[in-house]
Amino acid sequence: MQFNSVAYIFGFLPFVVAGWALLRRTRYANPFIACVSLYFYGSSRVWYLAPLFFTALLDYYIGQKVYESKDPLRRRNLTAFSVVANLGLLSYFKYGHWLTAKFAPALAGVGLALPVISVGLPPAISFYTFQSMSYTIDIYRREFKPYRSVIDYLSFVTFFPHLVAGPIMRARDLLPQLARGRSLPSAEQVSMALFMILFGLFQKIVVADNMAAVVDEISADLSKPGIPVAPGLGLIFAYAFAIQIYCDFAAYSTIARWSAKLLNVELMRNFATPYFSTGPSEFWQRWHISLSTWLRDYLYIPLGGNRGSTARSYRNLMLTMVIGGLWHGAGILFIVWGFWHGCLLVAYRLVPIDRALARFGALEKVIAAALFFQLVCVGWIFFRAAPAQIPAIFHSIAAVPPVLLAPAENKQFLGYVWLMSLMWAPMLVFDYFGWRRGGEFPDVFPSFNTALKVLVSLLLIYAIVFFGRRQASEFIYFAF
């Protein structure tokens, strides 16, 4: 089920909130949450539930055993087994086809027949395997005590708001919230949640989906053999995808977070105006925060983090980012994307341009943010494009100056610029207010008076009515 569907907004969510409100003081509350979450996830394909159950029940069982065991070796082996099983499952579904398809021809050359794995990718597998894995690791580290109730545990793993595309929650943050009896959300929480779900729908249906159309269209042009893409459209491709992926993923996180809030559950913030970042460290504190902190806690720090020599620290950074890239999907360009961000992190540590510019004043800070945004967009090209499209994109970007000198002859370019401005401008305004408060737009909303709240809401509603894409595309991160 999609967050941006009428069925979710007007059917599923009200039903779940009402059901939970009725059952919350009974022992049926969490079974109810687990059941509706499984329906939410498995309604499109029932078999998706199989790997989810496998991961969840395996880690539940191993978590109990690790906690009970006093033998360090057994504890370590059990945890290692959980990690290997989770990563194995993830690899099978996510990388199996890619790897076998790559190696099968080479092996066929030496007379070995390698069957190519062709099995559909269950949505969210990257999210729930990481989440489930961290549960066992936290127990192993004695940072968390497992819950006895398998229902509570299942309601944590399958909790529908964050199941499909995060935020990746730690058991220690989410499980206690779900396990205890919760009061109804306050009027302020409900008010915020209603507004933020509307805001998330605007982000997704209006901004992200319209930008997706631009990206798809240029991508189709890039795939036509022998026909060069028009000058400047490579730049539009990069910018439009930057807007699309941000608004798409942020919309998911927003709707997830505030849907959970209606059940009086707090999910962690996943975005904080990332395109206002002046450098890569700040960017990764603002972009997909739940993944970057997960990678920091379970990969970067165990690798040694900042401890040790500078070279070692850089190696850890690069390794973390490359694995982070690979987490997103099977493909060499995801690795390149991770590598690019690793390089940016290292480069900005070697030459801290952002800090140097920010020292001068506000304008220089804007310049630093604008410069870093361009570098992020270069990364998005690798993230979105196919390998064969990359040269044409950069070739088209190189042709931007002549396009700007003769705008009348490049109506398509100008049209796309206009569309991006139309869609992106309101988001920039919302983000600016959020950024000034050091967070996101939700942090500003409560300070509005009633009239302003009504006005902004009407603008969002009618933006959706008039400009929302009807042929809804899935959230990008469903594929991860």
């Binding site: 009027a187 209603l194 139309l422 008039f466 400009f467």
Partner: protein
């Protein structure tokens, strides 16, 4: 009590929601009063995207459902593009007594779910329907995952926007203003014909002319080239980037995608079945619910596919279809037929010049499938008369086949027959009283060509009754054959530069005279 609620903290926090809903209600009421629109203009089915024409699939579905919602047919046909381009309703009506035939097929992108929703839409609005024809090609569109459950299919959207009472609540009056608002925001104007989403959408102009007149039929693609070789070439270009070395390879490639209906477990009845049977059952129950008989019709397939493994697969389909009809005596079938490959202009589409001929063949099979009792039970239609034309517009959206693009000379629009051809077709419905056709030819049309020019209607030559000059153009008038009346005013006209009465086949000729014959106006009186 009410005052205490208004003073409460909870109200203070949530009052904006109530005010917002009230504002939306007021705005919508104001729009409903000042700019009332039809329900069809308020659906969320089309995109109105920036810089993009609407996708023909959606546009034509929306157009058909709008045009024919109260058509009162007694035979309703739903399915894929093979039927959309293959079945000409006036021809069926000429063969099956009392039939009012609605061709509601559009494209395979609807999926069987979409065909079902279209059928449901018409059946719920027209209690005159006695026969529901499910017409789809066994070449590619048998019920299977790709045509039943694939995410890209738009059946769910059709259900949502046309059949769901819940979604009807969301069809706000303001949605009627969406094209205007998007045009203004995107292009700064509401009158920019070159960019508006609907006006020049692919295939829309001629479909908009042909569908209402014909009862839902639209002619197949009209592209330059030789149709005989197009069938596999088109398939290659549209579905595959590869270029097979020869026709046999191309058949194998195309045939590999025909697919068969998979076995599935029917949880409800706890038995194994096929996806095809499950799908047919849905249609059968729908038809029964509305007092109609289901006829499952297999679209014709090019004989080039009736070979090897592909041929075996098609034979298995045929056997399966017969078995289904035997198991359900109330269901009729129109069996699979093979036609010469040069009668197709894509893998599964009968080319426009052969649509009428195939429709005759189909109608006879359908008549048998319905049976004499079924035909006797067809109610006399109370539907609106199909629109007629007295003039054919030569500009955009010509309801013809085999003509080149329009050109302007001295402010007058002309069209000539395409390169390599000496004949072209025109399709239209005229008033039953019309007895003559006049065609204005360009002033530079050679007189020897004009003297040989002829018009035939459904294979019967029209008698030339007069030549005259009109506004500098040469006007030739023919008397329409009396036999044309049997199609209730629907005409398939063959314009020939060499006096032919029937379509000569698709072999292109280098010395063809067609491009020299320019026409500027076609009028019926």
């Amino acid at each position: 009590m009410s005052l205490s609620i208004l003073r409460s903290e909870r109200w203070r926090k949530l009052s904006w929601v109530a005010y917002c809903l009230a504002a939306v209600a007021l705005i919508e009421i104001a729009i409903a009063v000042t700019h009332p629109t039809q329900e069809d203009a308020r659906r969320n089915f089309l995109e109105y995207r920036y810089g993009h024409q609407e996708v023909p699939d959606r546009l034509l579905i929306a157009e058909k459902l709008r045009l024919f919602k109260d058509d009162a047919p007694n035979i309703l046909q739903v399915g894929d593009s093979s039927g959309f381009h293959g079945i000409v309703p006036p021809v069926v009506e000429a063969i099956i007594p009392r039939a009012r035939y609605l061709n509601a097929n559009v494209f395979a992108t609807q999926g069987y779910g979409g065909f079902y929703e279209v059928a449901k839409y018409f059946l719920e609005r027209n209690n005159s329907v006695r026969v529901l024809v499910l017409f789809a090609t066994p070449a590619g569109d048998q019920p299977r995952d790709a045509t039943v459950s694939e995410k890209q299919l738009i059946g769910d959207d059709i259900q949502r926007e046309f059949n769901s009472p819940v979604h009807r609540l969301l069809q706000l009056p303001s949605l009627g203003l969406r094209p205007t608002v998007t045009d203004y925001a995107y292009y700064g104007t509401t009158d920019a014909p070159e960019v508006l989403a609907l006006r020049e959408a692919e295939r829309y102009p001629e479909a908009r002319l042909l569908m209402p007149q014909s009862g839902g039929w639209d002619r197949e693609h009209d592209s330059p080239g030789d149709v005989a070789e197009n069938v596999l070439d088109w398939d290659r270009r549209v579905f595959r980037n590869s270029v097979p070395a020869n026709k046999e390879d191309a058949v194998r490639e195309a045939g590999a995608e025909f697919g068969v209906s998979p076995r599935v477990y029917d949880w409800r009845h706890r038995r194994w079945t096929t996806m095809a049977d499950q799908t047919y059952d849905r249609f059968r129950l729908l038809a029964e619910e509305h007092g109609a008989k289901l006829v499952i019709a297999a679209a014709p397939v090019a004989d080039v596919f009736n070979t090897g493994e592909v041929g075996e697969r098609l034979a298995a389909f045929e056997t399966h279809l017969e078995a289904y009809a035997q198991a359900h005596p109330g269901v009729g079938i129109v069996p699979l037929t093979f036609l010469p490959t040069d009668r197709f202009s894509s893998t599964v589409h009968v080319s426009a010049p052969y649509a009428s001929a195939y429709t005759r063949q189909f109608s006879e099979a359908l008549r048998d499938a319905i049976g004499p009792e079924g035909i006797a039970s067809l109610p006399t239609s109370g539907g609106p008369p199909r629109p007629t034309a007295s003039v054919i517009d030569i500009g955009e959206g010509l309801p013809g086949y085999g003509f080149g693009p329009p050109t302007k000379i001295d402010g007058e629009t002309y069209r000539a027959i395409r390169e390599g051809r000496s004949e072209a077709l025109l399709f239209t419905r005229v008033a039953r009283e019309a007895t003559r056709i006049s065609i204005d030819f360009g002033p530079d049309t050679p007189s020897d060509l004009l003297s040989r020019a002829s018009v035939a209607v459904f294979g019967e030559k029209a008698v030339r009754v007069g030549d005259s000059l009109a506004n500098g153009s040469r006007r030739i008038t023919w008397a329409l054959p009396v036999s044309a009346k049997r199609y209730q005013g629907w005409l398939e006209l063959l314009l020939s530069t060499r006096g032919l009465a029937v379509w000569p086949g698709d072999q292109l000729t280098t010395g063809a005279n067609g491009p020299r014959l320019k026409i500027s106006r076609v009028e019926f009186h």
